[in-house]
Structures are given as C-alpha cells and as structure tokens.
C-alpha cells in the first residue's frame, strides 16, 4: 500500500485485499450482475413513486415511534429504578405485558379493538380528531410507540440503576435540586450507558415496522406486497425490499455510532 493513502482507506484495503475475500467479492459482484441481467425488474419504473412514498412512511413511522416511545421510557425506567411502589409496580406490569405478548397482537388489539369502539361514541365522531382516527396510521404509531416504550423502559431501568451512587450523592451535597440532578447528572450518564443497547433496539424497531402493513398502512413492505399481487413476480420485490431494509439498518447503526462518539467526548475508556 502506498504510504500517502489515508489511514481509514488503508484499513479497509487491508481488510478486503486478502485472497479469499477478493474471491468472495468477485462472486458477490457476479451474483449481482446475474440478478440484474436475468431477473425481472421491468416493474420498477411503474412503482417507483409508490415505493418512495412507502420508504418515507416507514422512516417517519420509525423515527416518530422511537421518539415518542423513548420519551415514555424515561419515566417508566425512572419509576422502576427509584420510584415509590405505587409507581414502580404499574410501570413493571406495563413492561412485562408489552414484552410478553407479540407486537402483531397488540397492533390488532389497538386497531380492531379501539377502531370498533370509537364510532360508538358520538362525541368522538364529532370531534376534530375524527378525520385522523378514521385512518390507520395513528393506531400503527400508537402500537409501535407503546411497544418501544415497554422494551426501552426495561433498558432505562438498568441504565438508571448502573449510575454510581456516589455521583448522585455528590450532586446532592452540592445543593442541586432533585430535578437538576436528574437533568444534569443522572439522565446524561444513564443515556450514555444505554446508547449501545438503544442502537440495537432501534434496528429491532425498524424490523417491526412492516407489521403495520397488516392494518392497511402503505409502508414500503405493503408496496412490495402489491407488486407481488399485481405482477405475480415473487422474488425480485422481496430481495429489493430486503436490500432496502439492510441499508436502513446500516444507516441506523452509523447514526448511533456518531451519537455514541458525541456522548463519549472527554471520557477515558
């Protein structure tokens, strides 16, 4: 390798330029070329607009449900780690129920259950929210957010508990109020400890989003299913779909890597 190469590039070159890896890369390129030439892709231009809308819907459902879910997870974790019993017990029960039942069941309970309950109340039908409640995505967002909150509540409980007690005592002896301790000391350190887990959990949440297609939300998975039904082409849309999800998973992993680097500034490992 020439010594003028930049170190990151050189590291990649050292990893890839090994005989068996070169053969594997060649095989992979061969498979991709074969797939591009001999499989059927003529449907792509016709469905590309729909696919882009689908990807966008998947991404905002993921982002919003992670945000809402995490906002709920912080009090859930705090209640379990340090709360009084009348708060800790319901928080633990919520996390157990969410983690102990399949998301598909929760989704269908919320969509079919609440969806059949709401129209019975005239004041809901006359409210301003009704145009939204007649669509499917609010139920999808609610189910995904609650599910994320249940799993992350458990993660945050562990993270809050793992912050050394001396830190909190030191903050108290400096005269900080309980809210200031939470905001300045407890939450940042718990977050920093939870970040690697949260990255993995966000990928898991992404893998759960295609379930919303079963309640008529047109995400990218639903678009691929429609291609399959319209054209009777089975493998090509599924393979492209798998590739799209792999790219999204890669982007999530990268984003959390950057976040971790940002949060670990000034910390000696």
């Amino acid at each position: 390798m020439s010594s003028t190469m930049n170190p990151a590039l050189r590291r990649i070159a050292d990893e890839v330029l090994v005989p068996h890896r070169l053969v594997m890369v060649a095989v992979a390129i061969g498979v991709v070329i074969w797939a591009a030439m001999s499989m059927r892709w003529h449907w792509i231009p016709r469905y590309s607009d729909l696919a882009i809308q689908g990807i966008w819907r998947t991404l905002w459902l993921l982002g919003l449900s992670v945000l809402i879910g995490f906002t709920l997870a912080v009090p859930l974790g705090l209640a379990q780690a340090a709360g009084p019993r009348f708060l800790a017990a319901p928080a633990r029960a919520f996390c157990t129920v969410i983690r102990g039942t399949p998301l598909l069941l929760q989704l269908w309970l919320i969509y079919f259950g609440l969806g059949s309950l709401f129209p019975q109340f005239p004041w809901i039908r006359e409210s301003e929210l009704w145009p939204y409640l007649r669509q499917a995505w609010p139920y999808a967002l609610l189910a995904l957010s609650l599910s994320f909150a249940g799993y992350e509540g458990e993660v945050m409980r562990g993270a809050f508990k793992s912050v050394p007690h001396g830190q909190l005592e030191a903050a108290r002896s400096m005269g900080m109020s309980r809210f200031a301790i939470l905001r300045r000391i407890w939450l940042p350190q718990a977050l920093q400890r939870a970040l690697p887990t949260l990255g993995g959990e966000t990928v898991l949440q992404m893998k759960a989003t295609p379930l919303v297609a079963t309640i008529t939300v047109i995400d990218i998975y639903a678009v691929a299913s429609r291609v399959r039904q319209d054209t009777f082409i089975i493998y090509e849309p599924l393979l492209l779909l798998a590739l799209i999800y792999m790219v999204i998973a890669g982007m999530i992993a990268l984003a959390f890597k950057l976040l971790e680097r940002h949060f670990n500034r000034g910390i000696v490992v």
Binding site: M24, T96, L103, W108, F112, K207, A208, L238
Partner: protein, 247 residues
C-alpha cells in the same frame, strides 16, 4: 356467585360464552392455536440451538471463508425484518424442494405449515443463537480448555465435558431471551396464513366482533407462556450456577 356477577355486569356473560370450549364458543380454537404456536416455538428454538452451536464453533474455529460466510449470515438475518425472511424462505424453500423432487421424478408436495414455520424461524433463531453461544464460549477461561487438551481429550470430548458445561450458565440469559423471541415470532406466521394463536384469535374476533375479549384472552395466553418459561429458565440457571461465585 357467577349469576350475581352476570347480573351486575352483563357483558361478562357474553365474553365467557364467547370463550367457552364448546363449539358455539371459540375457546377450543384458541387453545388449538396456542398448542400450534408452542410446537413451532419449541421446534424453532431447538433448530436454532443446533444451527447456533455449529455457527459459533465455525466462527471461532473455522477457516477464513467459513468465518466470513457466517458473518454474512448473522448480519443479514439480524438486519432484515423476520417477516420478509419468512416470505423469502417460505417461497424459496417450497420452490427449491419441489424442483428437486421434480428433477428426481417425484410429484411436488405441499409443505405442512408446522414444518415450514419451524424451518424458517429456526434459521432466524440460528443467527441470534450463533452470537449468544459465541460470546459464551469465548468467555470460558482458556486455561480450562488447555488443561483438557493436556489430559489428552479430543475436540469433541473437550467440548462435551469442559466447554459446554462451563459456557452454559453464561449463555442461559441470552438463550432465555431467544426463547421469548421465538414464542412471539410465531405470531408472524399468521401473515402467511398459518393458523396459530394470533390468526385463530383474529378469525374468532372477526366472526363475533368481540375484539377486546379475544385479543385480551390471546394476550393472556401468550403472557402465561412467557411468564412460565421465564420461571423455568430461572430455575435451570440457578441449577447450573450451583457452586459458582455469584457475579
């Protein structure tokens, strides 16, 4: 007692009748679905353990090509939604099997839902089990394995007598997590039309319009499965940790 409850809360009687085990009620269907879910979960978990054991040993002791291929397998399976893997493996699996049968001169067969479900979820579980078992095997102290070698034990005997029992307590928390994922992932087979608990529940709920009754009952069944198995795993873990210093 029940009559008094029914008079106070009439909806309860309707719900109980819906859930009764005799034909007008749908309780029998729900229990049959739960039994199917449990069978698939157990099968997939065991298949995943077998794949995971070989995968972990391959990742740790295999040649460079085997290691890279296993890395591709675990990365892809963990990055693509289970639902899509189930569809791809289900279609590709039946296709390949039938092509092979046709090539050998047999008639194509319809693959049973239970077998397909076990195979597909087993491949997914195998990727996660590979990582769990690899981590556990790696944390067995090297000296123990070297001591076994020094006593003249072969690779198989070393694994059976030393590595396996020493890594089991370390692997159990991860494996119990995997078992919970297996029970919940069986619900995904509802989407490919296999009548396990979630699909049976949806059919019962759709037919009677009593959505809350059936979905809550199914939720209770799933919760029962996960809570009981949590206890069982806790007991196994305590048993295998006997004589070890608490971490």
């Amino acid at each position: 007692m029940l009559d008094w409850l029914y008079s106070v809360w009439p909806a309860l009687e309707v719900s109980v009748n819906h859930l009764s085990l005799q034909p007008p009620g749908w309780g029998g269907n729900l229990l049959r679905g739960a039994w199917a879910s449990l069978q698939i979960a157990v099968g997939a978990f065991l298949l995943g353990l077998v794949i995971g054991t070989f995968g972990a040993l391959g990742k740790l002791n295999g040649g460079p090509v085997a290691r890279d291929l296993l890395a591709v397998y675990t990365t892809v399976v963990r990055a693509v939604p289970e639902l899509i893997l189930i569809l791809i493996l289900y279609y590709a699996g039946t296709d390949l099997l039938n092509q092979a049968l046709r090539a050998m001169g047999y008639r194509p067969v319809e693959i049973s839902g239970v077998v397909a479900g076990i195979a597909v979820l087993g491949v997914v579980q195998g990727a996660y089990a590979t990582e769990v078992l690899r981590g556990a095997i790696q944390s067995v102290p090297r000296g123990q394995i070297e001591a076994a070698r020094a006593f003249g034990m072969g690779a198989v005997l070393t694994f059976r007598r030393v590595t396996f029992p020493a890594m089991l307590p370390l692997a159990l928390p991860g494996l119990s997590n995997l078992w919970l994922i297996a029970t919940k992932d069986t619900a995904l087979l509802a989407i490919v039309g296999f009548s396990e608990l979630t699909l049976e529940t949806r059919q019962a709920a759709g037919a009677t319009r009593a959505y809350f009754t059936f979905f809550l009952a199914a939720g209770a069944l799933y919760l029962l499965m996960t809570l009981v198995s949590g206890r069982v795993f806790g007991w196994i873990e305590a048993r295998y940790r006997r004589g070890q210093v608490a971490p």
